[in-house]
């Protein structure tokens, strides 16, 4: 077993547990087992500083780290009828929504905001995997349509961060109709000549992948994100064959020509600024002059938060096989000596990049 989990963590916990300090100050990376200090993990945008594993990040935290000065204005999404089909499985859909709202503090599975990115107006939309597996129902459809309409009105590009188990089964046939509805939104942007960039995050599956999430002018993915139509287990059951390593992961899709880029979270902001300025016909950004984003607040335990809820998804991301362990053998010991240090180093490096002058 892991030396840190069994020895270091209890010791640290007992050290801090006395009073004042919250017990959940540390998060264990579910890939490499490194203990990560919450503050540094937040500074590193919930990416493990040891192995680069990308954990769940809430839409608000993402926007804080994306927009200039971390400021953005939420776009109002027209509210659909809640539980339009009065759906009930083992639980009432209206109860599931209520629980998801309590768990996330958000109204629904997508957040839309406007603000500036490198002093350029931007509309961004981010899907929340924590809210019923980010599943796409009427609200998500409305959110994407609202995002596109706002972008057209402001002549601004749209960047969309996808994360979903697929369509929201509890909205039955109405959830399926979000595929053409959101595609209409993409068409609005196209017609207005505005860039639409999709950043696919872990996991993006099912009807979401087969509609707006694959229709970007530029397709970027986060490292190791599961991106698929049918989930790996469904495929294994169909073809009775073991799937190759890394199947349906971002790097695999890149190799198969299905993506433009795989970009770590910490580098996405600079990359988006560069790409969008070129597509919008703007001169290169003078990066030293750009207002930096802000550091998101720690979000509690991203590992627990990132556990996908299988019962809430149509696309079966929960059935995905674990990716290979990328952690180098000596890493845990090193991390054990100075648990916070690697995280801090990574964060500095990233922050430096964000504020660095143009490399060109």
């Amino acid at each position: 077993m892991n030396w840190i989990t069994n020895y270091v963590r209890p010791r640290i916990t007992s050290m801090f547990a006395r009073r004042d300090v919250p017990e959940n100050l540390w998060t264990k990376c579910d890939e490499c087992g490194t203990m990560l200090f919450h503050r540094e993990l937040a500074e590193n945008l919930n990416v493990c500083s040891n192995c680069g594993h990308h954990m769940y990040i809430a839409p608000r935290a993402r926007f804080t780290s994306l927009f200039d000065g971390g400021t953005f204005t939420e776009v109002k999404v027209p509210e659909p009828v809640v539980d339009p089909l009065s759906f009930r499985d083992t639980k009432k859909y209206s109860d599931r929504i209520r629980d998801a709202r309590k768990k996330t503090g958000e109204k629904e599975a997508m957040l839309v905001a406007t603000g500036e990115l490198g002093r350029m107006p931007l509309v961004a939309a981010a899907q929340d995997f924590n809210f019923m597996a980010g599943s796409m129902g009427m609200y998500v459809g409305n959110a994407i349509v609202a995002a596109a309409e706002t972008a057209v009105k402001r002549k601004a590009p749209l960047v969309l961060f996808s994360a979903a188990g697929g369509a929201r089964m509890q909205e039955g046939i109405l959830s399926l109709m979000q595929m053409p509805r959101t595609t209409v939104a993409v068409e609005m942007l196209r017609e207005a000549g505005l860039p639409y960039i999709v950043v696919l995050t872990h996991p993006t599956t099912g009807g979401v992948t087969a509609s707006y999430a694959m229709l970007g002018d530029v397709q970027i993915a986060e490292p190791n994100a599961l991106i698929c139509f049918a989930g790996p287990r469904v495929i294994e059951q169909t073809i009775h064959e073991k799937l190759p390593e890394g199947f349906q992961r971002a790097e695999y899709l890149l190799d198969h020509g299905m993506l433009d880029r795989v970009t770590p979270r910490g580098k996405q902001r600079d990359e988006l600024i560069d790409i969008l300025r070129m597509l919008m016909g703007l001169p290169p950004a003078i990066k030293a002059d750009l207002p930096p984003p802000a550091t998101p607040e720690p979000q509690g335990d991203p590992v627990t938060l990132s556990e996908p809820a299988a019962e809430e998804t149509a696309g079966l991301p929960a059935e995905a096989p674990k990716p290979a362990e990328p952690a180098p053998a000596e890493a845990p010991a090193k991390a054990a000596e100075t648990p916070a240090k690697p995280a801090a180093k990574e964060a500095d490096k990233d922050a430096g990049k964000t504020r660095a002058p143009s490399k060109k």
Partner: protein, 320 residues
């Protein structure tokens, strides 16, 4: 030979008795069975009326998947003339789960596209049970390009359990192919009419069904996920497909109530598989009617009509 569904068992008995009587009469010309067999026929008809008048969602699924239900190629053969299949996606392969090409409908040239499931073991394997791979959607996109360039209306016939969940299909971009096909539907400057003739399985159906007019056969279904799949995920019990089918709102009648389908095409008593010609002709008449209503409409108006239609969907839920 008639294939009976599980809920048709009592019907199978009565029809079996009538058939036996008639066979007996053929062997013994002097035996008078007319009265008796006619009484049985009448009883069978009553039972059909009763069964098919109140099909629940799960039974609808069974009828929609009935192996003897007329399939895409039956519709093409009966409704269209000069059908000229066009093959391939010009990229990787020709997907036999998707049929399509040029044809005339009542003399007017159109592009027809549809899923074909096959009707015996050999043809089912050949058509991959109607489950398309990316090449199928890319063939459809190519055919829609052709229709758009030459101003031909597009008629699509939807009948698929869903897109094929396979390794190669994923590697070659199943999601992207479906998304692009849906997008291509929306971009068409020509009228597009879709008829769900059997099973409208999830995204694999949407890719061909983002049309100006969406029609559904009386016992066809259109769903985000199969009832079996939904039951195993939400109820953790694949046997709860009856509950799932009802909850998902997948029948033609549900879609009509929700404002998601424009018209329901009535089926002959006992389902399209009992009187295929009648069912196919009824579909043909509805397609012509729908196309006629859009004749002379400008490309931009057709695109706007499609956008408005889909954007407006689901506004009121069941209170529509």
């Amino acid at each position: 030979m008639t294939v009976y569904l599980d809920f048709e068992k009592p019907l199978a008995e009565i029809e079996g008795q009538a058939a036996e009587l008639r066979a007996l009469a053929r062997r013994n010309p002097e035996a008078d069975v007319d009265k008796e067999s006619q009484a049985l026929d009448k009883k069978a008809e009553e039972m059909l009326k009763q069964l098919y008048g109140g099909l629940d969602a799960w039974r609808k699924c069974q009828v929609a998947r009935h192996p003897e239900r007329p399939h895409c190629r039956d519709y093409i053969a009966r409704l269209f003339t000069d059908y000229t299949p066009l093959a391939g996606d010009r990229n990787f392969a020709d997907d036999h789960a998707v049929m399509g090409g040029l044809a005339r409908l009542d003399g007017t040239p159109v592009v027809v596209i549809g899923h074909e499931k096959g009707n015996d073991t050999k043809s089912r394997i050949e058509h991959n049970f109607g489950m398309a791979r990316p090449e199928g959607y890319r063939k459809a996109i190519r055919l829609m390009d052709l229709a758009d360039r030459f101003g031909l209306p597009v008629v699509s016939l939807v009948d698929t359990p869903g897109a094929y969940p396979g390794k190669g299909a994923e590697e070659r971009g199943q999601s992207e192919a479906i998304a692009r096909s849906t997008q291509r539907c929306l971009q068409l400057g020509v009228p597009m009419v879709t008829v769900v003739i059997g099973e409208g399985g999830s995204g694999g159906a949407v890719a061909f069904a983002t049309a100006n007019r969406v029609l559904m056969l009386e016992h066809s279904i259109y769903s985000v996920i199969s009832p079996e799949g939904c039951a195993s995920i939400l109820w953790k019990d694949a046997g709860k497909m009856q509950e799932a089918a009802a909850a998902l709102r997948l029948t033609a009648q549900d879609l009509k109530t929700l404002g998601l389908c424009d018209a329901i095409v009535p089926e002959p008593l006992g389902g399209a598989h009992r009187h295929p010609k009648q069912a196919i002709d009824a579909v043909g008449a509805e397609i012509l009617k729908a196309l006629g209503s859009m004749a002379g409409t400008k490309p931009k108006a057709l695109r706007d009509d499609r956008r408005k239609k889909f954007l407006g969907m689901g506004k009121n839920g069941l209170a529509a």
